[in-house]
Symmetry: C2
Subunit: 380 residues, 2 copies
Amino acid sequence: MLNLNLDCDTHNIRMDETPTDVTIQDVAARASVSAMTVSRVLNQPARVAPATRQRVEQAIRELGFVPNALARQLLRGRTHTLALLVSDIGNPFFTQIARGVEDVAQRNGYTVIFGNSDESVEKERQYLHALLGRRIDGLLIAPAGNGSRPMLDLLVQRGTPFVLLDRAIDGVPADVVIGDNIGGSRKLTEHLIGLGHRRIALVNGDPEVPTARDRRRGYLDTLRDHGIEMRPELIIDGVYRRDSGTRAARQLLALPDAQRPTAIFAANNFLAVGVIEALRAAQVIIPRDIAVVCFDDIEIAAALDPFLTVMAQPARTFGTIGAQFLLERLEPSLSGAAGPRAAVAPRRVVLPPELIVRVSCGAQLDMARRSVELLEQPGN
Amino acid sequence: MLNLNLDCDTHNIRMDETPTDVTIQDVAARASVSAMTVSRVLNQPARVAPATRQRVEQAIRELGFVPNALARQLLRGRTHTLALLVSDIGNPFFTQIARGVEDVAQRNGYTVIFGNSDESVEKERQYLHALLGRRIDGLLIAPAGNGSRPMLDLLVQRGTPFVLLDRAIDGVPADVVIGDNIGGSRKLTEHLIGLGHRRIALVNGDPEVPTARDRRRGYLDTLRDHGIEMRPELIIDGVYRRDSGTRAARQLLALPDAQRPTAIFAANNFLAVGVIEALRAAQVIIPRDIAVVCFDDIEIAAALDPFLTVMAQPARTFGTIGAQFLLERLEPSLSGAAGPRAAVAPRRVVLPPELIVRVSCGAQLDMARRSVELLEQPGN
DNA sequence: TTGAAAGCGCTAACAT
DNA sequence: ATGTTAGCGCTTTCAA
C-alpha cells in the first residue's frame, strides 16, 4: 500500500508566495475587457456578447478565478447563508434535522453554518454573535432553554428572521416547528397503561427544557385521566443524556419492592439507552421485570432489539419545513407569489410523532429460540 | 398551554423598514468620535482612553451594533472560517468528527461550515466552489472518492490548506488523518477465525472508496495468512448503507448450505445493521447460525445488544487532530513557536481502532433468562 | 490618544 | 454591448 507519486502534474505547494487573490480585475485584464463585463458574465451571461463571454470564461478558467462572495455580500447586503444552531449535534434527532435543512438550503443556493450549543445558553450566545457578525440571512434554532430569549430578542430587533425548532419559547414572534410532545407522551403512557402497568416511572430531562415539560405534562395528564395516582418518587428529572438515564434507573431500582415501577417511560432516546444499560447491569429483564418505552426514535437500536417501543418524530421534516419557512421570508417569491409586502404572521407547525411498537409474536419466538441456543455455540 | 403574550417589551417586527445595518459610523456619531476610535475599541481596547472607550462601548450597546465581519474579512483576507465536508452526515462516525472539529475551532475563535456530499463527487464540487467563494481559511474533508482529486488540486493551487479525514487520496500533498483500516480489518477477521470460523463473508462498501478497499485487503490478507481459501461468492460489494447490507445478507443466505458463511464481516456500521435486520427476518439466529462483526462502532445499539463485536474508531479524535493540523498551518504561532516560514511537510496520522468484544458469559445468561420469561408476560 | 484618507473585491447606477 | 464611477463597512497606513 505504499503509494509512490507517479503523477506528473502534481502542483507544488507555494506557501511562501503572498496568497494574492485572483480578482475580477485580473480576469478582466486577461480577457481584455472591463471588470463590469466579467461581472456580467458571472451574473447575467445573456447580456454579454457570446464571443466576449467565451473569452472571459476562458480567462476565468485559466486563472482559476473564484469570485469573492464576501465582496458581493458586502455590497448586496445578503449572504445567502443560513445557520442551524442545535443543542446537541450528537443526537440523531438533530442530525436528521440538519439533513433536512441542508437539503432545502442547498437546493435553493444557500449555504448552512451548523452550530452546537451543547445545551449551554452561553455557548449559544457566542455562536449567535459570530453568526450575526457574518450577517446570516436567517437562523434555525433549537434553543437551549428559556434563557435564550434575550438573544432571540436581538434577532427580532435586527430583523433577522429565524425559526424555532423542536422547542417553542413563550412570546417570541417567530415561526415554530415542533412535535406534539404532550400528545406523544400521552400515547406512550396510555400504551403502558393498556398493558396493565400502574406504577409507571418517568425518567425525564431538565424541566426547564420545553419538550421535557410537555412530555411530563402528557404523562401526568394521562395518569390522572386513568385515575392513577402520581407518585413523586417515580418522577426523576435530569438531563437528556445517557448517564442521566443510568442514574435515574439505578435510583428507581433502589426503591422498596412495593414502590418500584413496573414500567419506565424514558423521555428521550439517550435517557432510554442509559436506562436500558442500568437495567441490564442490574440483571433486570426487559420487558419481563420492567417494561421500557421512550420518546424519540433509536433507529439503529430498534433494528437490533424489537423490544423497544418508541415515539418517533419526523425529524428530517422539522428541518425541511423550518428551512422552507425561512426561505419564504427571505424570498417572498417562493411563498406562492404572495402579496408584495404581506408580512406573514408567525406560523406554528406541530408535527405528529408516530408510535412504533415493533415487538411481535414472531419476534418473541425469535428471541426465545435465539437465547436457548445461545449457550451452546457462542461465535461472535 | 395557550400562551398569551404578557410581555410588554416584545419588539415589533418591522419587515417594512429598510434593514439598514448599524455601522461603525453610526456608533462613532453617537459617541462623538471617529470611526477609527470605534474600530480600536473593538480590536485594541488598550489603545483607547478609558473614558472614550466607555462612551463608545455604551453607544455600541445602545445601538445593538454587531460589527460586520464580511467587511473585516474582505480587508484582512482571512475569514476565520473552516469547513468540514463529509460524505454522510447521518453517520455517527462523521457526527463525532464534527464534534471534534467544532470543539477545536470554537476554542480558537473559528467558525465551521458543515457540508454533506452524500458520497457524490458532484455535490462535493458544488460545495467546494461555494466554500472557496466564501474564502474559507481551511478545509477538512472526507473525500467522496478518487474523483475528488481535481477539486483538491484546485485547493492546492489556491494555497488553501486542507486535511483529508478518514480517506487518503494518492498523491495529494495534504495532511491526512485516517484509521488503520487494514489492521482493524485483520483483527476482526482474526477474531472470527479464532472462534473457529472458516467460511467468513465480507459485506463491503464501494471498492472505489479507500476505506472499503483497505478493509477488504485486511480481510483477504488475514485469510491468506491462515491458509483459508478466499471464496468470491462470499465477498459482496455495495455501498455503505443499510439497504446494501440487507441485500448482501439475503444474497448470502441464498447460497447452498455448503457454501453459506458461518460468519459475516460487515465493513461498516450501516451495513451491519442491514445485515442483522436481514438475518432476523430470515429467522437466522446471531451468533448461533451466523456470527456478525463489524467495522465502525454502533454505540447505542451495542449498549442494547451485547452480541455485536465491533471495531470502534476514535472518531472525535479524527476531528480534533485534523482541526489542529489546520490551525497550525493557519497560525504558525500555535505549532509550538516554530520557525518563521518552516513550511511543514504533509503529515499523516493513523489512529488505531479498538476491538470491542462486549459479549460475556453473564450477558449470555442474561439473554437466556430474558427470552425464557418473555413469552409469559410481554409488557412493552 | 485620536483622526483623515485610501482601498479590500465587487456591482448598482449611470454613461457611452 | 460595454465601460465609468462610486461605494458597501471596515481597517491600514500615515498625520496630527
